[in-house]
């Protein structure tokens, strides 16, 4: 936890105060955790209509230059040259041991231009890492100052159209620049259809208010953002991913093109190849605790003999599924869905079943 005196403030903080937000520290920022509706209603509202999230703590980087694609293909296990115009890709920054420095979304804005969206808690580390790599390429890296809003849920597209921003041409994981200084993508972190819109700070309050004027829209805090992404089976860097985990054990190898797994030139390629060849010792899985008691991050995962075989990395309650949900790492031999494992919470043994991810069906607009 950061000292509250040194927390960074969202540009739209006054709007959250006005909405009655309760704040807490996250990744060095003073963030809205919940609004008066409460986490349960906020979560369900997002799946049922349209939830508005202020995620301006996340960092946008613009990458531009003749070497932009080559630079990103070195920094990430990504074939940036082959990325189509407007197409977004989920990827990672790896260290030389294939440990995950951060997870990112990269979008191609032009032949020599890309947008990178990084996690708040890793922004400074990412920037230093990228700048060091960028020295070998004809590329410029600019950290952008923007407000970033996510509008998520089945009504998101219609709400944006009503507010004068028609993004209906976008399909899941594509992005565009609807106005100077703006960036919009059909993406998000809830498992629902939705959009992320970055815009200049000076234009943000007017735009946010135009969305909030729509009765289908409610502010959603970080607490529900966490329960939504956990139900959707999505990783939170710092919990489910970190420099001690690699894409193979984190079960995000789908994000690494097959050709690159075998002969990539990205940072960490050799280490990742070796891990894949040997087989990852552990694997990230979904976990469904039996009963009502939530199982939290840090809880040990035990086999039926009581031997520790892994640990929980995210856990809580899933308001849409109506039961506790969790993710964690287990020995690979025990990672098949349906495998019965156990944990202990305050001396109580609780059964945990390995469960396919996501817990709730993803409802992306794939076009």
């Amino acid at each position: 936890m950061s000292d509250t005196a040194t927390l960074k403030h969202l540009p739209l903080e006054a709007l959250h105060e006005e909405a009655g937000a309760r704040f807490g520290a996250f990744a060095g920022w003073r963030m809205p955790l919940t609004y008066p509706a409460g986490v349960m209603k906020e979560h369900l509202h997002t799946r049922g209509s349209a939830g508005l999230f202020d995620i301006s703590h996340m960092q946008l980087f613009e990458v531009e230059g003749a070497g932009a694609a080559a630079f990103l293909s070195r920094a990430c296990p990504l074939d940036a040259e082959a990325l189509d115009q407007d197409r977004s890709k989920y990827t990672v920054l790896l260290n030389e041991s294939a440990g995950i420095i951060d997870d990112l979304i990269v979008t191609r804005l032009g032949p020599q231009r890309f947008m990178v969206v990084a996690n708040a808690g890793n922004a400074a580390k990412d920037e230093a890492h990228l700048r060091a790599l960028a020295k070998d390429f004809d590329v410029s890296l600019t950290a952008l100052e923007r407000v970033l809003l996510a509008l998520q849920g089945p009504d998101a597209e219609a709400v944006l159209i009503a507010a004068g921003l028609d993004l209906s041409d976008l399909t899941f994981m594509t992005g565009t620049e609807p106005a100077p200084g703006w960036f919009a993508a059909r993406s998000g972190y809830t498992g629902e259809d939705g959009f992320e819109v970055a815009l200049p700070v000076g234009e943000a309050e007017r735009f946010a208010r135009s969305l909030l004027d729509d009765e289908r829209v409610q502010w959603i805090g970080l607490a529900a953002r966490d329960s939504l992404r956990l139900e959707a089976g999505l990783c939170l860097h710092g919990q489910d991913l970190d420099e001690a985990t690699d894409p193979a054990s984190a079960a995000i190898l789908w994000a690494v093109p097959k050709a690159l797994r075998e002969r990539g030139a990205f940072v960490g390629a050799a280490a990742l190849q070796a891990i894949i060849a040997a087989g990852a010792a552990q694997k990230r899985v979904g976990l469904k605790p039996e009963g009502r008691q939530p199982v939290r991050a840090g809880a040990p995962i035990l086999d039926d003999a009581g031997k520790t075989v892994g640990h929980v990395t995210s856990g809580g309650f899933g308001p849409s599924v109506g039961h506790p949900v969790a993710m964690g790492y287990v020995a690979r031999a025990l990672s098949e869905p349906g495998t019965r494992l156990f944990t202990e919470v305050r001396g109580n043994r609780i059964a945990l079943d390995v469960h396919p991810l996501p817990f709730t069906p993803q409802r992306y607009h794939k076009g």
Binding site: G38, V39, M40, A223, S227, R292, Q293, P294, R296, F317
Partner: protein
């Protein structure tokens, strides 16, 4: 005669005929947010003041509820097993947590009355 006391940990203790009913205050339930699980102890368990009696879990986190005085648990609110949200909707009523005997009534003297408690959270 019934009298209700309050603790700095945002619990209320309603004392009636030598038995205390314990719950958390409206302020506390609001701070915790939506509860999804309440871990209840067994009746008959002996508690010393400050022991964890109950654990309440919100979507995000688990929080301990402490015994405000010494005594023995005589009953727990079984309704919370099926509907933990009673603590949110009726913290001072149907959302009570447990009942206990009072081993030492003088311990009540250190607690707040309602006016003092309300002033402490204002």
């Amino acid at each position: 005669m019934t009298k209700t006391y309050f603790t700095e940990d945002h619990e209320w203790i309603k004392v009636e005929g030598g038995v205390a009913t314990v719950g958390i205050t409206d302020y506390a339930q609001e701070q915790l947010g939506d509860l999804v699980f309440v871990e209840l102890p067994e009746a008959g368990k002996a508690l010393a003041k400050g022991d964890t009696a109950v654990v309440v879990e919100s979507v995000k986190a688990a929080s301990d509820v402490y015994a405000p005085v010494d005594g023995e648990i005589t009953a727990v609110n079984e309704a919370l097993a099926g509907d933990p949200s009673l603590v949110n909707s009726a913290p001072a009523g149907d959302g009570w947590l447990w009942k206990m005997t009072l081993a030492d009534e003088s311990q009540l003297e250190g607690l707040m009355d309602e006016a003092a408690y309300q002033a402490s959270i204002a």
